[in-house]
Symmetry: D2
């Protein structure tokens, strides 16, 4: 976490695809004064700037070591942080912030940090909020920009959601870049997930093609924590913390009735990080079902048989299912997509509840199944303290990157260091829970859950 | 966070002082069955064992890269995790767990995870709790061992504190090793801070000298997050989260009265991590005073003048002070130490309150100062979800290390990877907030606080 | 709340139907020693016994005053509390506790208080828990009694749900009284709602018919707060507190998207107390729909038109609907009942979500509706501090009533005084939100919601 | 809680000292339209007005019944609520709100409810906030009034404290009434405790003497719940809820060390309601010390001997002490008063900690005492849901009373009904915990604490 001032750093080789795009050379000195909240402070910037030469290795184990030793170019990211020399003249910056996609704890914290850093650290006074995501850059919706000031954002972190509103789905890149030109904006911060970042990348390319000096900086938002190359997405810890309490509720309900079953559906369209991590934090879950791990319902190895045995011996069971799990059961059903282009999954929670009820009814066994879907309660929560600190760091670093003239990148966290990640690298694929990895293995240890499939053989064997 | 199965890893060079001590070669296969909570599950161990060759680089920036390239032996730690081959026969393990030092959120979670992993993963059935820290290993106190089972620990994570009790201060190493021999214990887990780890190291050395096959594994506990080589200590996030709310209280009190001042004393004997991080999470703090950063009270650059100006312009102020800050003001006072050997600091919070009150009284200015010391409220809290997950991981890995016959080490977190750290490396020095580092710089940005000293010149210049 | 020792109270007339049944004259002195937690305390009972003559007036306004003045017999309840003389010899008491119906915050607190009071105050050592409600008194289920001790219940208030398990539906009264006879139980505490209390009344009558000296004391449990003659049911405040946070979530979601609608379904089968009170505590609700108040969907006065107008002017809306509201829309659908005999309502929440979505789709208007059903999260929560105190009081008084030989009654709260209410009085009808009353009027003031019907004329006019 | 429309109520006799003062006859019809939040609603006022004849009996037991029967004038209060006819023309109202004394959860909720009710229910558009209590009415401080609107107060209930600021101590009544005249205010709401209410009474008398038509309505604020004739003061439940968690912290600390003692000082200058109620909600307290109950430290019956015995048998102890307890130990020390005129108590918490430490040191016994003073954390908390509802009700009724031309009164709660209480009745004496009452008796039952005095004889005997 801590870092010294690194002078005369050696020049590490930079893999082409991990090189950061810049709008031009940074020729302006970063401000050395931080103005206090009351205008009276004469706070001095510390000599803690980050050099562009400071990079962070991606593979930090023996394979990485061997690659370096053999003279190969190892993957590395540019370290994020304030630069001694910046590209934009703060007095001429006209920055905009937009938030898109589903809600997630901490969005307001990122907005607040962006505004505070631009204002107090750099003296930027022209910061605009874009309403309802990319809709706000599309003239047809007629949303006005919302001026953002240090005062207007000072309390917003106390509230969940986003003060700017959000929307799903993209708009015409040309229209949006037209708007950005017309509004004379030179920095655009995009807080959003996969779809939003694709949009940001398209805007950055289009702006470059037009010769616009527009900085586009992303702050990745996905409550599912499934952004590749980003070890922790903001809001994830808050989400796990609430999900954990909901699993406790399900356990209480399950124990409170004969043959009680608590069934909790958690977020996780393509990856089961929330379900798996929440199960670790609240060790009452007996079955964790996630998109990455196949499972059967029927048959001797399937969930239903195992659960029936468990109920007869223990009297209750808790199932945690990620929304994207078990989609094979819906094969043949029509595929739908939401406005962001995400495949809309069939409701595995309701489906499971129905299947389990039918099974116990057929067997004439008492069943008390309680189904809980806490998604919107989780998504709309304010960030907890850890996410507040994290969001603050992301916002600061995004502001620093933009002021330094860097573009088409997002702020990531790699091996516990904040880094600059070219957006194009991130949107290629989603991060997944690895079936043979430590996280899933811990879940198996904590739940004692078997393979839940009718296939023979050991997983990983 | 995730990791693949690493086969045929290259042999990285191991720095002597970071090599892990082992009791002997691991010749027993690790169990492949995980028994479910209900005894019915036939869960299979996944092929996700960690090889001893898997090591984690410490310096992962350009300097580290350059060192490797030049053929130097870089600092690295052995990665923690389950081993395919273990040293102890589970049926013959007689493990003990002890907790020492001040309370900290998550101790019970670590105890629970140790017991659950030893029991469900390895089938160990003989696990004892040592009462009241090292007192429990000293015959003169007469504390009995407490048998720990999966059932007896199943709910303990819902409660703060430690079910085993704790104490400060060491006992005779000889007496303790005598007890361990007499009790026929072959694994000892020590959950504690600097003093506790020193004791564990001494026990490991004495046991080795006696030729005892005793595994000693530490789980570092310090609410201050000041253990060197460990990037995050358990309980720290919970502590920050509560501290953050207390700062909000102080802010509310400060704004609720004319010339209101909220003064919060937080933990941090030698390092200001809690104070600094809590100030970042709750941006209402105006002054953050920590042990690592000098400050003056009197004089034109001192706290009192600045605060008086702030009160006259803004009407309120919030001060966050770490308990070890400003000890220069007590020079000449008698030095006291607690039973653990820690220097007992003078109460900087009460001292500051007195100085500020006197100043305003002398100036005949109204002052409404509210002093809050939430230390015991924070220390005794149950772990939040994030710390629960973290404590679970620490406990699992400590159990794996012990079963593999590793000793005289603790479980650390380095560049976001769990690692084995020889205890001797850790107890040499404490981790500090770096004055020119990113954390402190962020605090300055968020608070707008000036240097608060009468020295001329820029910090870091 | 406070009360003096009332000596020589005048003999108020007792309305026949409000007279309490007793098993026989109370001839034993209540113990004067309270044993401390550690067995060492010699605490003395205070002279604060309640006399049977102490009664509480029901109508305490001018009509009540006029009735008394004219010599009529006013409604009044016997005050609850410890009696100087008791009926049962503590050493011979064999008490049982059962919990039935849906979960509700505070059940464990009542169990704990009953056990603690019986044990520490009276020295009763034989207390049994009945598993899974009335199932546990029916031999066919084979549930064993669970011995309850001061130690075994000491921490249960930290957990939601009921340690005894619950079930819905009654069992044969004869079978249950047979069991009670066979088990030699002489006091039965029934914690449950309407159905449970009916069962308790039937048991009391059957026991009396058989000449058994069996005391049956109820503690009314209904999260809906709809027990007539009981001004506050335990768990209600906790429920409102969580519901309040969920309404805030719905508001955040609603504001976070264009034409956002947050729809929250709360408990309230026949009465809307939770919905109405939660709406008061969290003033973001725009529409509150409860069983007691008719509303239309279509037409110029209906919900849909009004909401469409609101969305076009304000951009978002929050709807809170009690589960029993709007049942007229399901007329013709088959009526179902749960095992307790309660009418199973059609899901008004899902129905409303569908109708609103269809309406906006038909109008080609964007709509972002988020539907939240937090019922099980609320039901399974641990009691908050206020409910803990209240549950403690209920349990103490229920134990006092039973020891004094009173039977076929429950502990109620009337005009802020704890009282003895004959069960037969309570199960006649449910408490409702009065359309012209203060509570509903406050909801209208806070939400600004119109009549939402197409009928002409003013309500109440 | 609910109430019907009471027509043709009989005329109950009104005790002189409980009669409410009015500015003049109410001749204006109350508005029948409630404007919705969005200006579009056509909400109709319900026919749920309260008649002035509606009064609430104070003694509702046999003694009250006997008194009525014998034709005596029983104590009764006028019921609070909206009147069909009001005194003030809403378009001419110029209302002010002030908050004084220490912080308490819920102040902002009361402010918000006053503003919302005046604005939405009555159409009042001129509402001013007075800064820093009575200082804001004294010209010498130069505080400006703060205009309050529905929009500016819409979120303030999310924050603790008071947006208006507060101060202790009175100002010259003449000066303040001069200000009120000059500012042309005709309604003044005073939210505060004993001292504040005395000030409000003086203002009401002075205004009457000057012939001003100034309505003065109080909302009693005392976190201690010690206002006589008011059964529950706002913020009290929130305070108990936080205090309860702090007692749990103290218990965790006490159990975490050999001879651990957790000592918690709670608010309660003259009465021990918070300490007693919190101890009931969190049954871990072993000793509860309050101002109303004498106790000794030394001697065979004193606290120290009993505690030493308890520690040797149980190993830990939890003491809850109200700030005003044990003042006899400071006899002879100088008496100090705060700016409100309250006697400033010596710090009983620090005193007890010192005495206990000295005792154990003298006996050479290990002692681990942790002292927690959570006062400001409690005072500054936002109101919980129950207090939010309660504060909303108080604010509504205060607004109704003022609009109806009633003055020199406050809103109280009597036998669970909201009532109008003449201020003069309230400020005569403080409410106390009765030594022989139900509350204290419950505390003794729950803690098992003995008399802790060296006096012989039974209390209450």
């Amino acid at each position: 976490m801590t870092r010294e001032n690194k002078k005369n750093l050696p020049l590490m080789p930079v893999p082409d695809e991990l090189a950061v795009t810049v709008l031009g050379p940074a020729k302006i000195n970063s401000p050395l004064l931080i103005c206090g909240d009351d205008g009276t402070a004469e706070t001095l910037c510390l000599d803690s700037f980050i050099d562009d030469e400071s990079r962070v290795l991606v593979d930090i184990g023996p394979l990485g070591w061997e690659a370096i030793r053999q003279g190969q170019t190892p993957d590395s990211f540019e370290e994020a942080g304030a630069r001694r020399r910046i590209y934009f003249d703060p007095s001429k910056v006209r920055a905009a912030i937009l938030t898109a996609g589903g809600l997630c704890p901490g969005i307001n914290d990122v907005i607040r940090s962006l505004v505070m850093t631009l204002h107090y650290r750099y003296g930027v006074n022209n910061i605009q909020g874009v309403k309802y995501g990319y809709q706000g850059l599309s003239p047809e919706y007629g949303h006005e920009l919302v001026p953002l000031t240090a005062e207007s954002v000072s309390n917003i972190h106390e509230f969940g959601g986003t003060i700017l509103g959000s929307s799903r789905g993209g708009q015409s890149t040309e229209d949006m870049v037209d708007s950005l030109e017309r509004l004379n904006l030179n920095i655009l911060f995009c807080i959003g997930g996969d779809g939003t970042l694709k949009g940001a990348h398209a805007i950055a390319l289009e702006a470059a093609a037009r010769g616009l000096k527009l900085g586009v900086v992303g702050v990745p938002k996905t409550i599912d924590n499934d952004i590749s190359l980003v070890s922790r997405s903001f809001g994830f810890e808050t989400a796990v913390s609430i999900a954990s309490e909901v699993i406790r509720s399900a356990h209480t309900e399950a124990k409170g009735a004969p043959n009680g079953v608590g069934l909790v559906k958690l977020m996780g369209r393509d990856s089961g990080f929330i379900a798996a991590t929440a199960a670790l934090s609240q060790s009452e879950a007996n079955y964790v079902l996630i998109p990455e791990i196949d499972f059967d319902l029927e048959g001797p190895g399937g969930l239903l048989d195992h659960m029936e045995k468990r109920l007869s011996s223990r009297g209750h069971a808790v199932i945690v299912v990620a929304e994207g799990a078990g989609q094979k059961f819906f094969a043949g059903a029509d595929e739908k997509r939401d406005a962001s282009g995400n495949i809309l999954h069939q409701d595995i929670g309701a489906f499971l509840a129905g299947v389990i009820r039918a099974r116990f009814k057929a067997r004439k066994l008492e069943l008390n199944l309680k189904y809980i879907d806490p998604s919107y309660i989780i998504r709309s929560a304010p960030a907890n303290a850890s996410d507040r600190v994290y969001c603050g760091s992301l916002g600061q670093r995004a502001a620093h990157a933009a002021m330094a003239g860097k573009t088409d990148l997002l702020i990531g966290l790699c091996n516990d260091h904040f880094v600059h990640v070219p957006i194009a690298q991130v949107i290629r694929e989603r991060k997944k829970v690895e079936p043979a990895g430590v996280l899933w293995n811990s879940v198996l240890e904590v739940t004692g859950q078997p393979s839940l499939t009718n296939r023979s053989g050991l997983p990983g064997a």
